[in-house]
Chain length 268, copies 4
């Protein structure tokens, strides 16, 4: 290697793919709500030398904000990925295996399949179901080839609805992949897939999170992790189809998911 990684990085463009985390932000009602509040403020306890420290408490579910689903998150007929019984894995310290701590951080190739862009819209309709054909056409349009181990991100434009809380959480449905799209993704053997909505699913209007077939296919059957609630607006606008994706959830031992701050790095 003639040029060091860090010299390449120095000229690169880093795009933040996380939504900001704050009390009241949109999230799935199935999970403990995020809340951050200061405990000590400056001035509460001033040391003799005039110094003071402020700190906070954070309460949240593992699936709030931009986050990664661990394989332990979903089971089917009592089994998690690999056909293992779920019950013996779970306990007071979380999951003895398949927790988010078993997900190796990714520093690798990411590919964006911009389905909203394919359809010439800023944001897909709430009830839109992303199909295998959409993904195939977006791939052709992107002009890249997928490789095993890639991270595949689907652009739906939903990030733009972040400020519209009720809409964002899918009250009127949310766009996302259907089962055939999930099969298409799995066939390309990605390490991880991701998108902008709270659930990496097609949520028909009024359906809520009652059925999660794509989670079953990816997490249980295929062993492919999922990133949700990503902010892809800037990446979509960059026009880049390929990038270096950094995905390093917190190593919370035994948890079924963790917030994460994914980054896309584009050549300078």
């Amino acid at each position: 290697m003639t040029t060091a990684l860090w010299d390449l990085a120095a000229g690169a463009r880093v795009i933040d793919l996380a939504q900001p985390m704050r009390t009241g932000m949109p999230q799935s009602p199935n999970h403990p709500p995020f809340r951050m509040l200061l405990e000590r403020r400056h001035g509460d306890l001033v040391r003799a030398d005039g110094g003071s420290a402020a700190n906070e408490m954070i309460v949240m579910g593992g699936h709030v904000g931009t986050h990664v689903d661990a394989l332990a998150h979903v089971s089917q007929d009592g089994l998690v990925h690999g056909g293992r019984a779920a019950a013996p894995l779970q306990g007071a310290q979380g999951f003895a295996d398949l927790g988010i701590d078993t997900f190796a951080p990714i520093v690798g190739r990411g590919v964006l399949l911009d389905v909203a862009g394919l359809h010439g819209v800023d944001c897909l309709d709430p009830g839109y179901q992303v199909t295998a054909q959409d993904l195939q056409r977006a791939l052709v349009k992107a002009g890249v080839r997928l490789r095993a181990g890639d991270a595949i991100l689907i652009g739906t434009g939903w990030s733009r609805r972040w400020e519209e809380k009720e809409t964002f959480i899918g009250g009127a449905g949310a766009p996302g992949p259907g089962e055939d799209a999930a099969r298409w993704l799995a066939a390309h053997r990605p390490r991880v897939v991701g998108a902008e909505t709270i659930a990496f699913e097609h949520i028909p209007p009024g359906a809520g999170h009652a059925r999660l077939p794509v989670h079953r296919i990816l997490l249980v059957e295929e062993g492919i992790n999922i990133v949700e609630t990503m902010r892809l607006t800037e990446l979509r606008q960059s026009g880049a189809a390929e990038f270096l994706l950094i995905l390093n959830p917190l190593p919370i031992v035994g948890a079924t998911g963790s917030p994460v701050r994914p980054l896309a790095v584009l050549p300078g």
Copy 2:
């Protein structure tokens, strides 16, 4: 660029610089303790199609596990970095400025100054004060030059004491930089500095966290963020002095700190 970043990354070695997060792990008693517990387990609520999801609740301070200190964390004589009054910045939503959300993620050069290695030990003594001379000598030994904007990590070997909870939290002191070392660091204009202990300070035996002069110098006077409780064992063992550092704390709006999972990327 002839070789894509992601192709370089494919051959690279990624070293995880975070300690695992679990209930009961060592942390500063000044901060809300980390706790993760499952809320729903598989089998609690099985959908008609046989699917089931598990999830958790996480409670923690912003300064638990491996974490980044925001500039808002410390004040001196009522002022935070830039000579601004702390009081008007803090409120029910945290800090209106200088919170961890204002820290731009780093994908850049990191340099390891292995002071424990310099002294030929696996781990420095609890009460050891890292001096400017230590850092200068470690730099010479590393054979690299520092540049403005680097991330400078100090190796003390303290990561190895992680499993010894009372020791790790500094009951008998903890090794770390003194004031002259902080001045030396600041003079090289790093974007961030980091180390393995809970506090980036020299903690004499029995002293606790009563005085934090290095925090004052770095956070308040110099505007340089600090990473604490890093796991540097593997990086030290690699012998690498330079690496690509990834440092992307959660974008928790207004918080004084955030857990993070830093990565060091070494050429393959």
Copy 3:
């Protein structure tokens, strides 16, 4: 005393005045939501002798479920009750004075003024403002005299809407005392007042909790604590105007409020 208190109590009727506390129950959106989840379940950790213990974590605001407002809860123009500046009293451990721990538990006389009953309805309309005249007429109807130090409870029937979450939290308004009613109450020098709604206020449809004049009058000006979200249905149905009220909030040092399980004891 010829008959012991406990013998009297043995024949008495005890009416529970608290709403049940569970995740998802109605509460003010201004306060951290109540959440209870099991941490250890039976079977997670079985001792050698076959014994096992289950436990839970509880997260909540001080103003969730049936609760008492401490005098520290509200300030006007920077002053809390007694004309004291609020700022110096508040810190990392809560309030140095006027917190809920300074509220002496009540075992004393309670009087129910059933305004809903006065109007011949099960539940007052959402936007109904309880007036001083209502209270005076309800008092006459009750056939009792108020004494200084009594606990005065206002029956609005709102407890019956508990299961209708959006309604209960006042989306379409909530019945409650207006300012003249608050003045009437204060003139009778009760130790505490209470009612069934989330806020002891008249909330016009669509108004939310933007104005809280009754809180100002009672907590700040008069030093009279408030009990909110009481369940008064059974007490109203008993027809009792007088009873022994037990009101013993948790002694949470420095908190602005605490959940409580008030009891009304009626002669057998």
Copy 4:
């Protein structure tokens, strides 16, 4: 009844039997630690009319401070009280039965058996095991008769150690009833028993909470609830053997325990 309950109460003496709750107070390390912190402070958000409200967040286990153990808390060989299997009762909303919400509030007779007083000491030694004989002798000394349905409190003097955190949590053991004392208690059919220590058990020095035979006998076999961490100093000093006990834990649906503020009411 010639004199109303509330008139009797007006002349009565009310003794608070709860320890104050604050961040850092002594509690069992097996349970989520209590923490209370302000979220909004006065001045954070001042309404146009000059009003401001402060509030807090509370995080805790169900077994912190003075608290009541629900029958669901302990199982033996997979069974809870009544020989029912524990597993099917527990889920994401806690226990479907035997939770603390199924404990009817007590307003009834309490009897204090002052074992410390019997031995002429302010506080029993840490490793002291309270025997059936102790209880019988204390009963004789008290000069009262036990009746089915009473609340029986055991005075050990341990409340006095509250400020000595490490001692209080039993680092060097804690005084409490052994198995024969538990059998003696159960034979008198109390509704509830209580004491001053964190666990209603004899904890030998260094033993921790590894064996809890008294919990098994009372909660599992006999269906008798337990109150722990009571503050009995003032009640012991009063010399009263009989009193009206009020015990009304929060109605937290499905929880294995709840903080409580018990009161003893003595004739005036």
